[in-house]
Protein backbone atom coordinates (compact mmCIF):
# COMPACT_ATOMS: atom_id res chain seq x y z
CA UNK A 1 0.00 0.00 0.00
CA UNK A 2 1.23 3.47 -0.85
CA UNK A 3 0.48 6.06 1.79
CA UNK A 4 0.97 9.82 1.55
CA UNK A 5 1.04 11.72 4.85
CA UNK A 6 0.09 15.33 4.24
CA UNK A 7 1.22 16.68 7.61
CA UNK A 8 4.82 15.56 7.19
CA UNK A 9 4.79 15.47 3.38
CA UNK A 10 5.97 11.84 3.49
CA UNK A 11 5.38 8.93 1.12
CA UNK A 12 5.46 5.44 2.65
CA UNK A 13 5.03 1.97 1.23
CA UNK A 14 3.65 -0.49 3.77
CA UNK A 15 2.04 -3.91 3.78
CA UNK A 16 -1.41 -3.54 5.29
CA UNK A 17 -4.95 -4.85 5.14
CA UNK A 18 -7.65 -3.77 7.58
CA UNK A 19 -9.93 -0.84 8.36
CA UNK A 20 -9.06 2.83 7.91
CA UNK A 21 -9.06 3.17 11.69
CA UNK A 22 -6.58 0.30 12.04
CA UNK A 23 -4.38 1.89 9.38
CA UNK A 24 -4.25 5.14 11.36
CA UNK A 25 -3.42 3.18 14.50
CA UNK A 26 -0.59 1.39 12.67
CA UNK A 27 0.76 4.77 11.55
CA UNK A 28 0.46 6.17 15.08
CA UNK A 29 -2.11 8.78 14.08
CA UNK A 30 -5.10 9.69 16.26
CA UNK A 31 -8.31 9.21 14.18
CA UNK A 32 -9.50 12.57 15.58
CA UNK A 33 -6.66 14.28 13.75
CA UNK A 34 -6.83 12.82 10.25
CA UNK A 35 -9.04 12.00 7.28
CA UNK A 36 -8.37 8.94 5.13
CA UNK A 37 -8.83 9.40 1.39
CA UNK A 38 -8.65 6.82 -1.42
CA UNK A 39 -8.82 8.07 -5.01
CA UNK A 40 -10.62 11.32 -4.08
CA UNK A 41 -13.09 9.36 -1.93
CA UNK A 42 -13.37 10.07 1.77
CA UNK A 43 -13.38 6.87 3.83
CA UNK A 44 -15.18 6.24 7.10
CA UNK A 45 -13.13 4.67 9.87
CA UNK A 46 -14.90 1.34 9.31
CA UNK A 47 -14.05 1.14 5.60
CA UNK A 48 -11.60 -1.55 4.56
CA UNK A 49 -8.37 -0.60 2.84
CA UNK A 50 -6.22 -3.02 0.88
CA UNK A 51 -2.60 -3.63 0.04
CA UNK A 52 -3.06 -2.37 -3.52
CA UNK A 53 -4.61 0.98 -2.44
CA UNK A 54 -3.09 4.43 -2.76
CA UNK A 55 -4.09 6.28 0.38
CA UNK A 56 -3.79 9.92 1.38
CA UNK A 57 -3.89 10.87 5.07
CA UNK A 58 -5.07 14.46 5.40
CA UNK A 59 -4.24 16.38 8.53
CA UNK A 60 -7.19 17.89 10.36
CA UNK A 61 -4.96 20.11 12.45
CA UNK A 62 -3.31 23.02 10.72
CA UNK A 63 -0.62 24.94 12.49
CA UNK A 64 -0.99 28.69 12.68
Amino acid sequence: MEVYLEKTDEHKTISFKGTAKELLEKLGINPEEALVVRAHELLSLDDNVYDTDKIRILSVISGG
Partner: protein, 298 residues
Protein backbone atom coordinates in the same frame (compact mmCIF):
# COMPACT_ATOMS: atom_id res chain seq x y z
CA UNK B 1 -21.41 0.91 6.79
CA UNK B 2 -24.36 2.75 5.27
CA UNK B 3 -25.58 6.27 5.98
CA UNK B 4 -27.76 6.39 9.08
CA UNK B 5 -29.88 9.33 7.89
CA UNK B 6 -33.62 8.63 7.88
CA UNK B 7 -35.24 9.87 4.69
CA UNK B 8 -38.77 9.86 3.32
CA UNK B 9 -39.39 7.47 0.45
CA UNK B 10 -40.83 9.06 -2.71
CA UNK B 11 -44.63 9.27 -2.53
CA UNK B 12 -44.63 7.70 0.90
CA UNK B 13 -44.92 9.14 4.38
CA UNK B 14 -42.78 6.40 5.90
CA UNK B 15 -39.10 7.02 6.57
CA UNK B 16 -36.41 4.65 5.39
CA UNK B 17 -32.66 4.47 5.85
CA UNK B 18 -30.51 6.21 3.27
CA UNK B 19 -28.71 3.41 1.41
CA UNK B 20 -25.64 5.38 0.37
CA UNK B 21 -22.27 4.42 1.78
CA UNK B 22 -21.15 6.40 4.84
CA UNK B 23 -18.03 8.53 4.31
CA UNK B 24 -17.72 9.63 7.93
CA UNK B 25 -17.91 7.87 11.28
CA UNK B 26 -19.88 9.27 14.21
CA UNK B 27 -22.07 10.63 12.71
CA UNK B 28 -22.31 7.94 10.03
CA UNK B 29 -23.47 9.88 6.99
CA UNK B 30 -23.01 9.70 3.24
CA UNK B 31 -21.41 12.66 1.43
CA UNK B 32 -24.70 14.41 0.69
CA UNK B 33 -26.17 14.01 4.17
CA UNK B 34 -22.88 14.84 5.88
CA UNK B 35 -22.74 18.22 4.11
CA UNK B 36 -26.38 18.83 5.02
CA UNK B 37 -25.65 17.91 8.64
CA UNK B 38 -22.80 20.47 8.86
CA UNK B 39 -24.89 23.21 7.24
CA UNK B 40 -27.90 22.44 9.43
CA UNK B 41 -25.84 22.42 12.63
CA UNK B 42 -24.43 25.82 11.65
CA UNK B 43 -27.92 27.16 10.98
CA UNK B 44 -29.22 25.71 14.27
CA UNK B 45 -26.43 27.39 16.25
CA UNK B 46 -27.14 30.74 14.56
CA UNK B 47 -30.84 30.39 15.38
CA UNK B 48 -30.51 29.06 18.93
CA UNK B 49 -28.08 31.76 20.07
CA UNK B 50 -29.54 34.54 17.88
CA UNK B 51 -26.13 35.10 16.30
CA UNK B 52 -27.34 36.90 13.18
CA UNK B 53 -30.31 39.19 12.49
CA UNK B 54 -31.72 39.31 8.94
CA UNK B 55 -30.45 42.87 8.40
CA UNK B 56 -26.92 42.19 9.72
CA UNK B 57 -23.87 42.90 7.60
CA UNK B 58 -21.36 40.22 8.58
CA UNK B 59 -17.59 40.47 8.45
CA UNK B 60 -16.08 36.98 8.27
CA UNK B 61 -12.54 37.03 9.67
CA UNK B 62 -10.64 34.77 7.26
CA UNK B 63 -7.18 33.30 7.58
CA UNK B 64 -7.31 31.11 4.50
CA UNK B 65 -7.66 27.96 6.61
CA UNK B 66 -10.44 25.39 6.32
CA UNK B 67 -12.50 26.70 9.23
CA UNK B 68 -12.85 30.35 8.25
CA UNK B 69 -13.18 29.62 4.52
CA UNK B 70 -15.84 26.93 5.11
CA UNK B 71 -17.70 29.37 7.36
CA UNK B 72 -17.58 32.06 4.68
CA UNK B 73 -18.83 29.51 2.11
CA UNK B 74 -21.74 28.28 4.28
CA UNK B 75 -22.89 31.75 5.38
CA UNK B 76 -22.85 32.93 1.76
CA UNK B 77 -24.72 29.77 0.69
CA UNK B 78 -27.34 30.39 3.39
CA UNK B 79 -27.99 33.87 2.00
CA UNK B 80 -26.36 36.03 4.67
CA UNK B 81 -24.84 39.40 3.77
CA UNK B 82 -21.16 38.52 4.16
CA UNK B 83 -17.82 40.09 3.34
CA UNK B 84 -14.35 38.77 4.15
CA UNK B 85 -11.55 40.48 6.06
CA UNK B 86 -8.03 39.03 6.11
CA UNK B 87 -5.08 40.28 8.11
CA UNK B 88 -1.65 40.00 6.48
CA UNK B 89 0.90 39.75 9.29
CA UNK B 90 3.81 39.72 6.88
CA UNK B 91 5.16 36.17 7.06
CA UNK B 92 7.02 35.39 3.85
CA UNK B 93 6.38 31.93 2.40
CA UNK B 94 3.23 31.46 4.48
CA UNK B 95 0.64 34.23 4.49
CA UNK B 96 1.18 35.15 0.83
CA UNK B 97 0.16 31.57 -0.11
CA UNK B 98 -3.04 31.59 1.95
CA UNK B 99 -3.90 35.09 0.70
CA UNK B 100 -3.52 33.99 -2.92
CA UNK B 101 -5.95 31.15 -2.21
CA UNK B 102 -8.37 33.55 -0.52
CA UNK B 103 -8.29 36.00 -3.43
CA UNK B 104 -9.18 33.23 -5.89
CA UNK B 105 -11.85 31.77 -3.60
CA UNK B 106 -13.56 35.12 -3.01
CA UNK B 107 -13.42 36.02 -6.69
CA UNK B 108 -14.98 32.66 -7.63
CA UNK B 109 -17.76 33.04 -5.06
CA UNK B 110 -18.26 36.78 -5.65
CA UNK B 111 -17.45 37.80 -2.08
CA UNK B 112 -15.80 41.13 -1.28
CA UNK B 113 -12.38 40.54 0.32
CA UNK B 114 -10.47 43.23 2.22
CA UNK B 115 -6.85 42.64 3.17
CA UNK B 116 -5.15 44.79 5.81
CA UNK B 117 -1.53 44.41 6.81
CA UNK B 118 0.52 44.84 9.97
CA UNK B 119 3.09 47.00 8.22
CA UNK B 120 0.58 49.78 7.54
CA UNK B 121 -0.80 49.71 11.08
CA UNK B 122 2.25 48.91 13.18
CA UNK B 123 5.12 49.93 10.93
CA UNK B 124 6.70 46.47 10.69
CA UNK B 125 6.09 43.03 9.23
CA UNK B 126 5.79 40.18 11.75
CA UNK B 127 8.81 38.33 10.37
CA UNK B 128 10.95 41.47 10.89
CA UNK B 129 9.80 41.78 14.50
CA UNK B 130 10.40 38.09 15.25
CA UNK B 131 13.96 38.36 13.93
CA UNK B 132 14.58 40.85 16.74
CA UNK B 133 13.54 38.27 19.32
CA UNK B 134 9.94 39.24 20.03
CA UNK B 135 7.63 36.25 20.73
CA UNK B 136 5.54 35.76 17.59
CA UNK B 137 2.25 34.27 18.83
CA UNK B 138 1.48 36.80 21.59
CA UNK B 139 2.28 39.74 19.30
CA UNK B 140 0.43 38.25 16.35
CA UNK B 141 -2.74 37.48 18.31
CA UNK B 142 -2.88 40.90 19.96
CA UNK B 143 -2.33 42.84 16.71
CA UNK B 144 -4.76 40.61 14.82
CA UNK B 145 -7.58 41.18 17.34
CA UNK B 146 -6.85 44.91 17.37
CA UNK B 147 -7.00 45.16 13.57
CA UNK B 148 -10.14 43.02 13.33
CA UNK B 149 -11.93 45.33 15.76
CA UNK B 150 -10.65 48.39 13.93
CA UNK B 151 -11.46 47.36 10.37
CA UNK B 152 -14.73 45.59 11.14
CA UNK B 153 -16.16 48.59 13.00
CA UNK B 154 -18.65 49.27 10.18
CA UNK B 155 -20.11 45.75 10.36
CA UNK B 156 -22.82 44.42 12.67
CA UNK B 157 -20.96 41.22 13.58
CA UNK B 158 -17.56 39.58 13.14
CA UNK B 159 -17.92 35.86 12.40
CA UNK B 160 -14.94 33.64 13.21
CA UNK B 161 -14.28 30.01 12.33
CA UNK B 162 -13.77 28.87 15.94
CA UNK B 163 -14.99 25.31 16.31
CA UNK B 164 -15.86 22.86 19.08
CA UNK B 165 -12.23 21.78 19.46
CA UNK B 166 -11.00 25.39 19.82
CA UNK B 167 -13.67 26.16 22.38
CA UNK B 168 -13.23 22.99 24.47
CA UNK B 169 -9.46 23.65 24.48
CA UNK B 170 -10.05 27.24 25.62
CA UNK B 171 -12.33 26.16 28.46
CA UNK B 172 -9.70 23.73 29.74
CA UNK B 173 -6.82 26.18 29.26
CA UNK B 174 -8.61 28.83 31.30
CA UNK B 175 -9.56 26.27 33.91
CA UNK B 176 -5.99 24.99 34.27
CA UNK B 177 -4.66 28.55 34.47
CA UNK B 178 -7.44 29.63 36.86
CA UNK B 179 -8.44 32.43 34.48
CA UNK B 180 -12.04 32.75 35.64
CA UNK B 181 -12.61 36.11 33.95
CA UNK B 182 -11.52 34.67 30.61
CA UNK B 183 -14.10 31.89 31.01
CA UNK B 184 -16.78 34.56 31.08
CA UNK B 185 -15.59 35.87 27.70
CA UNK B 186 -16.15 32.63 25.78
CA UNK B 187 -19.30 31.16 24.25
CA UNK B 188 -20.97 31.33 20.82
CA UNK B 189 -20.97 35.15 20.94
CA UNK B 190 -19.11 37.81 22.87
CA UNK B 191 -20.99 39.95 25.34
CA UNK B 192 -18.95 43.15 25.33
CA UNK B 193 -20.79 45.97 23.66
CA UNK B 194 -17.68 48.13 23.25
CA UNK B 195 -16.39 46.16 20.24
CA UNK B 196 -18.22 44.72 17.27
CA UNK B 197 -19.81 41.52 18.59
CA UNK B 198 -18.00 38.34 17.59
CA UNK B 199 -19.99 35.24 16.71
CA UNK B 200 -18.96 31.59 16.29
CA UNK B 201 -21.45 29.70 14.10
CA UNK B 202 -19.21 26.57 14.15
CA UNK B 203 -19.33 26.43 17.95
CA UNK B 204 -20.78 22.88 18.00
CA UNK B 205 -18.89 21.45 15.01
CA UNK B 206 -15.73 19.43 15.48
CA UNK B 207 -12.57 20.42 13.62
CA UNK B 208 -12.59 17.05 11.86
CA UNK B 209 -16.18 17.59 10.68
CA UNK B 210 -15.28 20.96 9.17
CA UNK B 211 -12.24 19.44 7.45
CA UNK B 212 -14.44 16.70 5.95
CA UNK B 213 -16.99 19.31 4.83
CA UNK B 214 -14.26 21.36 3.14
CA UNK B 215 -12.99 18.24 1.36
CA UNK B 216 -16.46 17.21 0.17
CA UNK B 217 -17.26 20.69 -1.11
CA UNK B 218 -13.98 21.21 -2.98
CA UNK B 219 -12.78 23.89 -0.60
CA UNK B 220 -9.18 22.94 -1.22
CA UNK B 221 -7.34 25.15 1.21
CA UNK B 222 -3.57 24.82 0.99
CA UNK B 223 -2.03 22.79 3.81
CA UNK B 224 0.68 25.06 5.13
CA UNK B 225 1.93 25.66 8.63
CA UNK B 226 3.00 28.97 10.12
CA UNK B 227 6.83 28.91 10.46
CA UNK B 228 6.50 30.56 13.87
CA UNK B 229 3.99 28.06 15.27
CA UNK B 230 5.53 26.38 18.29
CA UNK B 231 4.51 23.69 20.71
CA UNK B 232 2.28 25.72 22.96
CA UNK B 233 0.16 25.08 26.02
CA UNK B 234 -2.83 24.89 23.66
CA UNK B 235 -0.98 22.26 21.61
CA UNK B 236 -0.58 20.04 24.68
CA UNK B 237 -4.25 20.48 25.63
CA UNK B 238 -5.30 19.70 22.04
CA UNK B 239 -3.29 16.46 21.90
CA UNK B 240 -4.54 15.35 25.30
CA UNK B 241 -8.16 16.19 24.44
CA UNK B 242 -7.97 14.40 21.08
CA UNK B 243 -6.62 11.28 22.79
CA UNK B 244 -9.47 11.44 25.28
CA UNK B 245 -12.07 12.03 22.54
CA UNK B 246 -10.81 9.00 20.60
CA UNK B 247 -11.29 6.82 23.68
CA UNK B 248 -14.45 8.53 24.95
CA UNK B 249 -16.39 10.10 22.07
CA UNK B 250 -18.43 13.11 23.14
CA UNK B 251 -15.87 14.46 25.60
CA UNK B 252 -15.35 17.76 23.73
CA UNK B 253 -19.07 18.40 23.41
CA UNK B 254 -19.62 17.56 27.09
CA UNK B 255 -17.02 20.17 28.09
CA UNK B 256 -18.80 22.82 26.02
CA UNK B 257 -22.26 21.85 27.26
CA UNK B 258 -21.05 21.92 30.86
CA UNK B 259 -19.47 25.33 30.24
CA UNK B 260 -22.68 26.70 28.71
CA UNK B 261 -24.70 25.51 31.69
CA UNK B 262 -22.48 27.70 33.88
CA UNK B 263 -22.47 30.65 31.48
CA UNK B 264 -25.06 32.82 33.16
CA UNK B 265 -23.16 32.98 36.41
CA UNK B 266 -19.81 33.52 34.68
CA UNK B 267 -21.14 36.30 32.44
CA UNK B 268 -22.26 38.20 35.53
CA UNK B 269 -18.69 38.12 36.78
CA UNK B 270 -17.53 39.60 33.47
CA UNK B 271 -19.96 42.53 33.51
CA UNK B 272 -17.14 45.03 34.16
CA UNK B 273 -16.99 48.17 32.01
CA UNK B 274 -13.98 49.11 29.90
CA UNK B 275 -12.10 52.42 29.70
CA UNK B 276 -10.79 53.98 26.50
CA UNK B 277 -7.16 53.51 25.45
CA UNK B 278 -5.68 57.06 25.43
CA UNK B 279 -3.66 56.33 22.28
CA UNK B 280 -5.96 54.45 19.89
CA UNK B 281 -9.33 55.09 21.55
CA UNK B 282 -10.21 51.41 21.64
CA UNK B 283 -11.73 49.83 24.75
CA UNK B 284 -9.14 48.84 27.33
CA UNK B 285 -9.41 47.39 30.82
CA UNK B 286 -6.23 49.04 32.10
CA UNK B 287 -5.17 52.38 30.55
CA UNK B 288 -3.12 51.75 27.40
CA UNK B 289 -4.49 48.76 25.49
CA UNK B 290 -2.26 45.73 24.99
CA UNK B 291 -1.76 46.44 21.26
CA UNK B 292 -0.52 50.00 21.93
CA UNK B 293 1.82 48.77 24.69
CA UNK B 294 3.34 46.22 22.31
CA UNK B 295 3.57 48.78 19.50
CA UNK B 296 5.54 51.14 21.78
CA UNK B 297 7.98 48.31 22.57
CA UNK B 298 8.78 47.66 18.89
Amino acid sequence: MNCSMQIKAKGDKKTINCEEKAIFSNPNYCAKHFSKYVEQKTADTIKKFKLISPSDKICVAVSGGKDSVSLLYILKKQGFNVEALAIDEGIAGYRNITLDFLKNFCEKHKIKLTIKNYEDDFGKRLDEVVKKGEPACNLCGTFRRHMLNKYAAEYDKIATGHNLDDEAQAVLMNLFKAQTRMLGRQGPKTSKKDFVRKIKPFYFLKEKEIMAYAFLNDINVPFIECPFASVSFRGHIRDWLNALEAKTPGTKENIIRHYLSLTKKIKMDDASTLDECPLCGFPSSNGLCHACRLKMKL
